[in-house]
Amino acid sequence: MTEQSRQGWTRRVFLRGLLNWSLLAGLWPLAWGNESALAFPTLQSPPPGMDPEEWRVIDLVMNEILPGTSTMPSATRAGVMTYLTRAMRNQLPGWRLVRKPPFVRRENQGGGYARLLGHYRMAVRRLNGLSQGSFNKGYAALSPAERAEITRRFSESAKTDVGYRIEGVSEAARASTSELFQLLRRHAIEGYFSDPRHGGNTDFEAWRAIGHTHHWNYQPSHPPHS
């Protein structure tokens, strides 16, 4: 074995060991049966303006909207939070390429939903408010059954909206709870079913689960034109 190949081998062993330890460290939360805390390689971090506790609430409600089943990945597993991490930073690919000025303002050249940060924070506050009102604890601290109940009320609250008012949030403050739920649901679907280039639909798993083959997998009866 040459010196060069020995160094390469040593480097590969080191990197593999590092990867293994990283995976093991990430797997620890499984001991608590909490898949949403699983540290996937692309770890999501809250966007500027939200703290980790608020982001955790978003993670949890996304998994209420799109829970894992025996045949379908959960929101977290499908990379919805990775998608949102990019979307809330206006870092979705492609937007910058084509939304050239003057079609959008220069300060909003990135693609995504950073402008909806206030709505996300309002949604968190409404969820926490409903949770505190019913169970004397925040949304993240609820048991699965309690969380299901609060999410149900959150999704239906257009009829029984208690009208939370939070100072300092303008447009978001006018949004009904039902509208906020629909916004989160809309973005959950986008993260789940968009092309993986946007951060979600990890490994195309969501598409495979529903049988979507996209155009580059031709129907057998229609072979590509030569």
């Binding site: 492609g94 939304r99 968009s194 529903i210």
Partner: protein, 543 residues
């Protein structure tokens, strides 16, 4: 700052700009197109559902370039993109599904057939199907339309069949056609602006049947967008120039009220320029054409250029549409959008409380985000519905004529301006009662066909949706209607403005009625005819 003049200046580069630019350039006439958008990039995101339908590549910002929408007097949208479909060379033809019908002979004579309708400004066209027929043939040949002759029971006569063969069908098409025949109906394959085979004439490739047509640029150069079928050949003549990112803001006239040019803004520099011209052609779609005319006031035309009749902006028409879906036992993969048409009920039946013409057309299975968004709910039940339904769900669509009404119109906002300081357009619209009855009737037929085809969990609207919401941005017509009487119309049957001899309009603004069919091919035929009429007028010194 004045620039070099051109002979014919065209504002807009979409469906109806292509034919006239093509014809005039090939006749050796200098033509310049001002297009607010840009050429469509050949980009991987062109087939990306999120990018095209949610992030809306190629569409303007509704905040910076808004259209305000009023439905029955109530503001329903402050930032709609009605009338500003796509900022692209080729306009909507780059991303449309390609449905390309000839209007029926009866569509040109609604008033004569049905009589006056209270509340509607229903009129006959000042030209007949027979006068337009040769230009339908020309459009089908030069643009590239695939389909079959003799299947549609309402199809008008044609002098020549120049259609490319119909596209290959799939199992959904077969299922629908069998079900329709079982009901005693006469289904047919819809003519489409998709090349079923490659064409040396247009330079297009054969369609790959990938199914990503409606709402997406074609990745395979098989869709007959005018930017593919017409502009390359026209550009080769050396007589056509297309100036992109050029926003026309005002039409300039001289003391004799003849057009002398157009003031436009260069969107890269935000500088204003003037392009002088001998003849101006507007092809910017019914909202933007009306807007430009209304903005261009002068001594003789205080209410907008060529508007002595007061009709500029009025009689705005869309179509009313409804979608239905059902779940089937078969697996369906993505297919091109419009496969099967039903026209057994195109014309009103005896006793129907409406005079609207209606079309039933197959849709296609929705793509993942659209499908998931169409379902309600969340949680485990929702996930099961996604998995169970995606491969098995298909759609139908019905399209209903929107009767013209004087009060349905485009105006200029007194308070809201776009990012470049120009008054934002306002759209005011309310459907006629007959429109609603016609749509409800069509919805019943849709349900009948879905049931006959074996569909389960059929979902159709319970009632006709009340009014526009600001999301419907296509099939815009009527705002500079043509007619014989200058007191009640803006244009003559050639597309020339009654009031201004060197001003022509060739887009859907010119249409007096909307038919129950997608209007693109008719706009293109009208544009080809206008080109012939304009060449004659130039030759005779009338312009």
């Amino acid at each position: 700052m004045a620039e070099k003049a051109t002979t014919v200046l065209i504002v807009g580069s979409g469906a109806s700009a292509g034919p006239i630019a093509f014809e005039l350039a090939r006749a050796g006439i200098d033509v310049m197109i001002l297009e607010k958008g840009d050429w469509c990039e050949n980009h991987p995101l062109n087939e990306d559902e999120l990018a095209q339908t949610r992030l809306e590549m190629y569409r303007p910002s509704g905040e910076l370039d808004p259209t305000l929408v009023y439905s029955k007097g109530e503001l329903v949208s402050e930032s709609s993109r009605i009338g500003q479909s796509f900022y692209l060379v080729g306009g909507g033809t780059v991303r449309y599904a390609g449905t390309s019908w000839r209007f029926r002979t009866q569509d040109f004579r609604k008033l004569s057939l049905y009589g006056a309708v209270p509340g509607s400004s229903l009129v006959d066209w000042p030209l007949s199907y027979e006068e337009l027929e040769p230009y339908y043939t020309k459009a089908e040949l030069e643009i590239g339309i695939s389909g079959n002759v003799g299947e549609d029971p309402t199809e008008p006569q044609r002098s020549k069949n120049v259609l490319l063969p119909p596209l290959k069908g799939d199992s959904y098409q077969e299922r629908l056609m069998k079900a329709a025949r079982g009901l005693g109906w006469h289904p047919f394959r819809i003519p489409l602006a998709l090349h079923s085979q490659s064409s040396k004439r247009t330079g297009a490739n054969a369609c790959m049947l990938c199914g990503w047509c409606s709402g997406y640029p074609c990745m395979y150069n098989a869709k007959s967008a005018v930017s593919l079928s017409l502009y390359p050949r026209a550009l080769k003549t050396g007589k056509l120039q297309i100036k992109t990112r050029a926003y026309a803001t005002r039409i300039l006239v001289d003391a004799r009220d003849r057009v002398t040019g157009v003031e436009y803004m260069d969107l890269d520099t935000n500088q204003s320029h003037v392009m002088q011209c001998r003849i101006l052609v507007l092809a910017a779609s019914a909202v933007q054409t009306a807007r430009l005319l209304l903005q261009s006031t002068s001594g003789r035309f205080p209410n907008g250029l060529a508007n002595s009749s007061g009709m500029v902006g009025r009689n705005l028409m869309f179509h009313i549409e409804a979608k239905g879906s059902a779940v089937f036992d078969d697996d369906f993969h993505q297919g091109y959008y419009k496969k099967v048409g039903i026209h057994d009920f195109y014309f009103p039946q005896s006793g129907d409380p409406f005079v609207n013409h209606r079309s039933i057309q197959s849709g296609s299975k929705p793509s993942p985000i659209a499908f998931a968004s169409s379902l309600s709910g969340y949680g485990e039940g929702f996930m099961q519905a996604l998995r169970k339904g995606f491969l098995h769900t298909q759609e139908l669509q019905c399209m209903v004529e929107d009767l013209p009404q004087l009060g349905n119109r485009v105006t200029l906002s007194a308070t809201r301006r776009d990012a470049w300081g120009m008054p934002a357009p306002e759209v005011h619209h309310a459907y006629h009662e007959m429109d609603r009855h016609a749509l409800e009737s069509a919805i019943l037929r849709m349900r009948q066909l879905l049931e006959a085809a074996g569909g389960r969990e059929i979902s159709v609207p319970k009632t006709a949706s009340t009014n526009i919401t600001g999301r419907y941005t296509w099939h815009l017509m009527g705002t500079a209607r043509m007619g014989h009487d200058p007191a009640e119309s803006v244009l003559n049957s050639d597309g020339m403005a009654h009031d201004v001899a060197n001003l022509w309009v060739v887009d859907g603004s010119a249409f007096p009625t909307s038919a129950g069919l997608n209007p693109t091919l008719t706009m293109q035929a009208f544009s080809f005819r206008a080109a012939d009429r304009l060449k004659l007028a130039m030759k005779e010194g009338r312009v």
